[in-house]
C-alpha cells in the first residue's frame, strides 16, 4: 500500500547543523501521534542546494516547499498541511516579491537552468530512435523539408542569433550562408566532436544522451546549404558516444531518415563518422579537415575558409556538437523564440561542465547572461569543504581565469573576452585557496606545448619557452625579468601564430598576470607559494614544543628524512626531505610546520 503523503526533510550538512535532525525527530513524533504513520512517510534526502534558506521541507506529491523550518514547526506542518490540507503560509518561501512561492518549480533558485541542448539528455533512451521521435524528434526536419526553403532555414537561424559554441562564437547563420552561396557539385557538413579541453565533457554527454538531435541538425544544415554528405569527426577516446552514434545512424538509415529521397522529398543525405586520434589541434577547422583527408593534423592559413573551400576542396560547414543540438529547437520554435533567451549579443543557452573544487559538480545548461555567482554558488552549491573561492577558469587552455571581483558579471561572449577570458567550449573549473595560480597556468602550458603541432615557430618555440619560464618560477629559480619575458613572448605568440591554438595558448598567462601578479611576485621575490602547491618552495620543519615523539611521521616518511627518539622531539633533515607532505598530513599534534 502506497503512502498518501511524503514529507521530505533535507539531510544536507548545512540543514543538519541547523537543527535538521531534531526537526526530523519532531515530524516523526507528530506523524505518529496523529495516527498517520501508515499514510505518511518521512524521508531524509540529500542536499536540496538551497542551503541559505534551510532547513528545507518538501511535501510530495503536491510539491509544496517550506523553508527555514524549525523543530517547533513540525506540529503545524502535520496538523495543518497533512491532516487538513491547508498550506502553512508563514513557512513558504517569500522573496519579498508579488506572491509566495508554493511549488518548488516557482522558485527562481530552481529556475536557473534552462535546457535546450540537453532537452533529451537524461530523459530518453539514447539507443531508441522511437523515444527521440516521440519527443518531437525529426519534426524539425519535417518542417525544414516540407514547409521551408533553404533560404528561409538560413534566415531563421540567422534571426535566432545562434553563434558557434566551439569557442569562437561565429554566427552560425552566416557560416551557412557563405557555403550556400558557393556553386559546387558536392558540399559537406561536418560535426566537430573533437572535444579536447581538459575538464570539458559537454559534447560527449550530448552525443551519448541524445545522438539523434545532432544528426537531425546536420540534415537540416545539409538541406540549407545544399550538402548531401555529413561527417561526424569524433575522438576515438569516446567509445560510448561512438557506439551510440553508430546505433543511431543505423536506425535512421533503416527508417529511411538517412539515404535518398528522405520522407518522400527530393533531399538526399547520409552521415558517416571519422575518428580523431586525440590531437587537440584537430579541433581547429583546417587541421580537422587535413586529418579527415588522411594528412597530418596541421592547420593551414585562412582564407580560403572551409565554408568556401574545405574538405576535398569543396564547400564545408563545420559546426560544433552543441551548436548543432540547438538547431532543431530553433527550427521548431522559431528564431524569434530563441533570440529572446540570453543577452543582447549572445543568444540562447550555454552548457557548462562544472568541475573543480565545487560541491555539486555537474553538467549544467544556463541562459547566456547568467552570472558566475549563480552558477557556482546556487547551482553548484558553493566551494567544497567551506574553503574560499579563488578563481574560475573558463575556456580551458585557450581561456583565462576569472577572479572573485567578477562573480556578478553576466556571462556572454563579449563580457568574458572583456575580462580576459573566453567562453570556450564550456569547461568551467573552480579553484579554491589551495590552488596555486602559477602552478595551474603551468599545467595549461604543459598541455598546449604537448599539443602544439610544431608547424609554426611562435607556437612551437614560444610555448616551450613560456613553459620553461613557469617551471623556473615554480621551482624557486624565478627572476624579476621573467615577468617581462612572459609578457613579450605571449604577445608575440598571440600575433604571429598560425592557428587558434598558438594564438590563445598564452591566454592563461596574460589573464593571471593581470589578476594574480602578486602571486607571481611572491614566487619570484619571496620564493613562497601561498597555496603550498609548489613543492620546491616548501620547507617542512617540526616544532619541538608540540612534538610528543609519537614516531608517526618517521614511520610514514618515504625518504627516511625524519629522526628522533621515541617520546622526544623529532627532526627533519632538509637535505633528505622530498617534500611529499605526508608527515604534515599524518601528525595529530600539528607539530609539522609547512612554510
Amino acid at each position: 500500500m502506497a503512502y498518501k503523503h511524503y514529507i521530505l526533510v533535507c539531510g544536507g550538512t548545512s540543514c543538519d547543523s541547523n537543527q535538521g535532525a531534531k526537526l526530523s525527530e519532531s515530524l516523526k513524533k507528530e506523524i505518529e501521534s496523529a495516527g498517520l504513520a501508515n499514510d505518511t512517510q518521512l524521508v531524509r534526502t540529500g542536499c536540496f542546494g538551497f542551503c541559505e534558506k534551510g532547513p528545507i521541507v518538501k511535501i510530495l506529491p503536491e510539491g509544496t516547499f517550506y523553508v527555514q523550518v524549525k523543530p517547533e514547526d513540525a506540529k503545524a506542518i502535520v496538523a495543518e498541511h497533512i491532516v487538513k490540507g491547508n498550506k502553512v503560509t508563514r513557512l513558504l518561501y517569500d522573496n519579498k516579491q508579488s506572491k509566495l512561492h508554493v511549488n518548488i518549480n516557482d522558485i527562481d533558485f530552481y529556475q536557473k537552468q534552462f535546457r535546450i541542448v540537453l532537452r533529451n539528455c537524461g530523459v530518453i533512451d539514447p539507443d531508441s530512435i522511437d523515444e527521440y521521435i516521440a519527443r518531437d524528434g525529426y519534426a524539425a526536419l519535417e518542417k525544414a523539408l516540407f514547409e521551408m526553403t533553404p533560404e528561409t532555414i538560413i534566415k531563421e537561424i540567422d534571426k535566432s542569433g545562434l553563434r558557434g559554441r566551439g569557442g569562437a562564437g561565429f554566427p552560425t547563420g552566416k557560416k551557412w550562408q557563405f557555403s550556400r552561396g558557393v556553386q559546387a557539385d558536392q558540399k559537406y557538413i561536418i560535426c566537430n566532436a573533437d572535444e579536447g579541453d581538459p575538464g570539458a565533457y559537454m559534447d560527449r554527454s550530448t552525443l551519448e544522451g541524445d545522438p539523434h538531435s545532432v544528426m537531425e541538425a546536420m540534415m537540416i544544415a545539409g538541406r540549407a546549404v545544399g550538402a548531401s554528405k555529413g561527417i561526424i569527426y569524433i575522438r576515438a577516446e569516446y567509445p560510448l558516444a561512438i557506439k551510440r552514434l553508430e546505433t543511431a545512424i543505423g536506425q535512421s538509415r533503416k527508417y529511411g531518415l538517412l539515404g535518398t529521397k528522405i520522407l518522400g522529398s527530393d533531399f538526399n543525405f547520409d552521415i558517416e563518422m571519422r575518428f580523431g586520434a586525440g590531437a587537440f589541434v584537430c579541433g581547429e577547422e583546417t587541421a580537422l579537415i587535413a586529418s579527415i583527408e588522411g594528412n597530418r593534423g596541421m592547420p593551414t592559413p585562412r582564407p580560403p575558409f572551409p565554408a568556401v573551400k574545405g574538405l576535398w576542396g569543396k564547400p564545408t560547414v563545420i559546426n560544433n556538437v552543441e551548436t548543432l543540438a540547438n538547431v532543431p529547437m530553433i527550427i521548431l520554435k522559431g528564431g524569434d523564440w530563441f533570440s529572446r533567451i540570453g543577452t543582447a549579443t549572445s543568444k540562447g543557452t550555454k552548457v557548462f561542465a562544472l568541475t573543480g573544487k565545487i560541491k555539486n559538480s555537474g553538467l549544467i545548461e544556463v541562459p547566456m547572461g547568467t552570472t558566475l555567482r549563480e552558477i557556482i554558488f546556487d547551482i553548484g552549491g558553493g566551494i567544497r569543504d567551506g574553503k574560499k573561492f579563488k578563481a574560475a577558469q573558463t575556456g580551458g587552455p585557450s581561456g583565462g581565469v576569472i577572479p572573485p571581483e567578477f562573480l556578478d558579471t553576466p556571462i556572454d561572449y563579449e563580457t568574458l573576452s572583456k575580462i580576459g577570458s573566453i567562453m570556450g567550449s564550456g569547461g568551467l573549473i573552480v579553484m579554491d585557496e589551495d590552488d596555486c595560480i602559477v602552478d595551474v597556468v603551468k599545467f595549461y602550458l604543459d598541455f598546449t606545448v604537448d599539443e602544439s603541432c610544431g608547424k609554426c615557430a611562435p607556437c612551437r618555440i614560444g610555448g616551450r619557452t613560456l613553459h620553461n619560464t613557469l617551471v623556473r618560477i615554480t621551482d624557486g629559480k624565478g627572476e624579476t625579468a621573467d615577468i617581462d619575458q612572459l609578457k613579450t613572448i605571449s604577445q608575440a605568440m598571440q600575433r604571429a601564430s598560425l592557428c587558434g591554438l598558438g594564438q590563445t595558448a598564452p591566454n592563461p598567462i596574460i589573464s593571471t598576470l593581470r589578476y594574480f601578479m602578486d602571486e607571481y611576485k611572491e614566487h619570484i621575490d619571496s620564493k613562497k607559494c601561498r597555496a603550498g602547491k609548489c613543492k620546491n618552495l616548501l620547507c617542512y620543519t617540526i616544532n619541538p614544543e608540540k612534538c610528543v615523539g609519537c614516531t608517526a611521521c618517521a614511520r610514514v616518511c618515504p625518504a627516511a628524512a625524519i629522526t628522533g627518539e621515541r617520546k622526544k622531539a623529532h627532526v627533519i633533515d632538509p637535505a633528505k626531505c622530498i617534500k611529499c607532505g605526508q608527515c604534515h598530513d599524518v601528525c595529530k599534534f600539528s607539530a609539522v610546520l609547512r612554510s
Partner: protein, 129 residues
C-alpha cells in the same frame, strides 16, 4: 523495412507519444531509468543496472520497465537512477551502487516507500518554458 513516408513518421510519433504518456505516476507502468553516460558507467552504473534487474526478477515484480538514459547532469551523485511508480512521486536517487539499487527494488518498488538519504533534486524543470 520500407522507407518511411511523412505520414509514417507522424503516425509513429503519435503512437510513441501515447506510449510514453502511459508511463507516469498516474498510470500502471513503473519505470526505472538508469543514467548510463560515460560518467554513470564509470561510477558503476552497469553494476547498478544488473543489480536492479536481478532483484526485480528475484522478487518477480511485474510491469516494471528498466531502461537507460544519458547523463542527467548530476555528476556529483553518479550513478543516478530515476524511479516513476504509480501513485508515488517521481524521484531521482543519487550515488546508487548495487546494494542501494537492490534497496530501490525492495523498498521503493515492492514496499512503496521512498529511500532515506538518497534523493537528489532534478537539476531543472524538464524542458523549455
Amino acid at each position: 523495412m520500407k522507407k518511411m513516408t511523412l505520414d509514417d513518421l507522424r503516425k509513429l510519433r503519435q503512437q510513441k507519444k501515447d506510449e510514453l504518456d502511459k508511463r507516469g505516476p498516474d498510470n500502471k507502468t513503473t519505470q526505472v531509468t538508469v543514467g548510463m553516460g560515460t560518467c554513470g558507467v564509470a561510477a558503476g552504473a552497469k553494476e547498478t543496472l544488473s543489480a536492479i534487474t536481478d532483484e526485480i526478477e528475484k522478487l518477480k515484480i511485474k510491469a516494471v520497465l528498466v531502461r537507460q538514459t544519458g547523463c542527467m547532469g548530476l555528476c556529483h551523485a553518479e550513478p543516478t537512477v530515476e524511479v516513476t511508480a504509480p501513485g508515488m512521486p517521481t524521484v531521482i536517487y543519487g550515488k546508487v551502487d548495487a546494494s542501494i539499487g537492490r534497496k530501490i527494488v525492495t523498498d521503493h518498488l515492492a514496499g512503496k516507500r521512498l529511500l532515506d538519504n538518497q534523493i537528489c533534486d532534478k537539476p531543472a524543470a524538464d524542458i523549455v518554458r
